[in-house]
């Protein structure tokens, strides 16, 4: 088991430091989008604070031992935002950040959506929405079977919650005590919804009856916290609280802004597909105050 002292190594309680990590991740993904001719930049920018809080403030892991059976797991179920995950893993020390230069280059192991084991720290190949929560539930259940105390975090998009499979997994993870294999819910599982209000072609509230999303998770047996998805202090506090004493899994509805951090991308869904020019990269990095 990871001991508390070593488990916290590499983590910080300082929200300013977490914000700096997030800014660096943002600056990098803007450039990666341009270099790799890869879309979904708005989606990557909206979850940068969540990734920063998770990897630099919460997850008990050792980047030098990415297969440690006791590590906390983080699954980026919204695989189209993988540039943000790659950047985060690089800055967290899972691999040399110079590898990021190869993002989406032919023949490299940094594809536009993560393939199985493409880089140390990538827990699952995603890109098809609605798979991550089920895989995460399996990992959480395995932890219980093996009597290990790791936690599993799954980051989904709000549009992803259109998928029926999400709700099958939510129903499994939130099941009440009964005779089914011990029956208690998966309290070591945390779903984070990057609720930026957009999906590919429209406002997510307008495509399907997504709201009230928090009530949906509650109805499925989950605890729910609605939080500012750009507040590192709040995000770390809530994520560190897993598992809590209720015995329920936790859903964090993280209210975010798509394209967050770059004035001309914020809440503009054109940046779901648009690629920034070199001049736009420079402008964005100037706004972020980071060259990465």
């Amino acid at each position: 088991m990871i001991q508390t002292t070593t488990a916290r190594a590499g983590l910080t309680d300082d929200p300013h430091v977490l914000a700096e990590h997030a800014a660096r991740i943002r600056a990098r993904v803007v450039r990666l989008s341009h270099q790799g001719d890869s879309p979904h930049l708005g989606s990557a920018l909206s979850c940068a604070d969540i990734l920063s809080a998770a990897y630099f403030g919460v997850l008990r892991l050792d980047p030098r031992r990415p297969d440690d059976p006791d590590r906390d797991r983080f699954i980026l179920s919204k695989g189209h935002a993988v540039s943000a995950l790659y950047a985060t893993l690089g800055y967290r020390g899972f691999f040399d950040v110079s590898l990021l230069e190869k993002f989406n280059q032919a023949g490299t192991n940094l594809p536009e959506q993560p393939s199985p084991g493409c880089l140390p720290g990538v827990e699952a190949a995603t890109g098809s929405l609605g798979h991550g929560l089920g895989i995460g539930a399996g990992m959480a259940l395995a932890g219980r079977i093996a009597n290990r105390d790791y936690r599993v975090y799954v980051l989904m998009s709000d549009g992803e919650c259109n998928e029926g499979s999400v709700w099958e997994s939510a129903m499994f993870a939130g099941r009440a005590p009964g005779s089914n294999g011990g029956g208690q819910a998966l309290s070591n599982l945390c779903a984070i919804v990057d609720f930026n209000g957009w999906q590919a072609t429209d406002r997510s509230r307008g495509v399907l009856a997504l709201e009230p999303l928090a009530d949906k998770f509650r109805a499925f047996g989950w605890n729910v916290v609605e939080a500012d998805g750009h507040d590192p202090r709040k995000l770390t506090e809530v994520m560190r609280g897993v598992p809590d004493s209720s015995g329920k899994p936790l859903a964090i509805i993280a209210k975010t802004v798509k394209g967050r951090g770059v004035s001309f991308m914020q809440d503009d869904n054109n940046w779901h597909y648009r690629i920034p020019t070199e001049a736009e990269v420079a402008t964005a990095q100037k706004e972020l105050g980071v060259v990465a």
């Binding site: 059976p69 393939s115 199985p116 827990e123 699952a124 190949a125 098809s128 609605g130 798979h131 929560l133 089920g134 895989i135 995460g136 539930a137 399996g138 990992m139 959480a140 259940l141 395995a142 932890g143 079977i145 093996a146 029926g164 499979s165 099958e168 997994s169 129903m171 499994f172 089914n180 294999g181 011990g182």
Partner: protein, 331 residues
């Protein structure tokens, strides 16, 4: 077959603490013993098969060996993308057990039939497809899956199928079992039609045809060594028999292999290939498995007629081999 599975999986779980059994809310009372012996390793996943597959992937990624169990259409067609991405793309050692395969649940209608599942599953990269022929083969196949490092589709029937093998055969995945030797005709059988294959071989004696029967329990990977012997050895006709569509099942697999084989070797003349399976359309009427088999031409009489229409005895005076069933043997 399903009782054989229940018994085998309990034995496997006793020997391997990584084994976890997931059920899609079926198998009432069937797994009572398993649940009693291994309460922390049985999970009823409800009528929610997509989650069941992804859950199994997560369990396998964490070092466990999950077995999924439910009615075949619901754990194949319904969750094809979960299987493709979570199990095959990640190459996880998860065994998908489809029960009531083929026309086992004929009376429940086509919603519960699975005559396209082999085709769909064998198209997936890295998937192993195993269709045991009788209850003893089910037990042997379950044990054999432990040696697989990737996903396996284990296609079984219902309950009450007759045993062809007198005892548990030695079963190696990818190696067919010789059930009955022959000379003129070789019947390659996969899945729950193995008894039908044996009865057909017996019936062909009346036409002075000596038919052998192979239980080709593994459709992917094909036993190409056996196919080589069957097509370029002593047989004049090779018959594939399956309770599955002619599109993409055992017959389709063998036809693909034969075409490729003949491209690379043009001097030898292979035996003829006759494919017997279900038709490319749904039937809508009520009826049990035997009724539905008759609709699809899967009877001793229909198959025998097709065989004798394409191959006749070489000579009425040719002595026949002994006809009683010999003890099955693994090649």
């Amino acid at each position: 077959m399903r009782n054989a599975f229940a018994k085998a999986i309990a034995g496997l779980a006793a020997a391997d603490e990584r084994v976890v059994l997931l059920s899609g809310d079926i198998g009432n009372r069937m797994f009572d013993k398993f649940k009693e012996q291994f309460p922390g390793r049985f999970y009823n996943c409800g009528v929610a098969e997509a989650n069941m597959v992804s859950l199994a992937a997560g369990l396998a990624m964490s070092g466990l060996r999950p077995y999924l169990y439910t009615i075949t259409p619901f754990v194949t067609y319904r969750v094809l993308e979960q299987i493709r991405v979570d199990l095959c793309y990640h190459h996880q050692p998860v065994v998908i057990v489809g029960t009531g395969a083929g026309l086992s649940y004929a009376s429940l209608g086509a919603t519960h039939h699975s005559c396209e599942d082999i085709a769909v599953m064998r198209a997936l990269p890295g998937m192993t497809v195993v269709c045991p022929g009788d209850p003893p083969e089910v037990g042997a196949a379950v044990k054999a899956t432990v040696g697989c490092d990737g996903p396996v589709f284990l296609r079984i029937g219902k309950k009450g199928e007759p045993a062809v093998h007198a005892s548990t055969p030695e079963l190696r995945i990818g190696r067919a079992i010789t059930v009955r030797p022959g000379r003129d005709v070789c019947i390659l059988s996969t899945g729950n039609v193995l008894p039908l294959a044996c009865e057909t071989a017996q019936a062909l004696e009346a036409s002075n045809l000596v038919a052998g029967v192979m239980s080709m329990h593994t459709v992917k990977p094909l036993d190409v060594e056996m196919l080589e012997e069957a097509f370029f050895g002593r047989f004049r006709l090779v018959v594939t028999l399956e309770e599955h569509s002619l599109l993409g099942g055992l017959g389709g697999s063998v036809a693909e292999w034969l075409v490729d084989r003949c491209v690379s070797e043009t001097s030898a003349t292979p035996a003829k290939l006759l494919r017997v399976g279900t038709q490319d359309h749904f039937h809508h009427e009520a009826g049990d498995q035997d009724h539905y088999r008759a609709l699809h031409g899967l009877t001793v009489e229909a198959i025998t007629a097709r065989i004798t229409s394409v191959v006749q005895p070489e000579s009425a005076t040719t002595p026949l081999l002994s006809t009683p069933y010999p003890a099955p043997q693994t090649r």
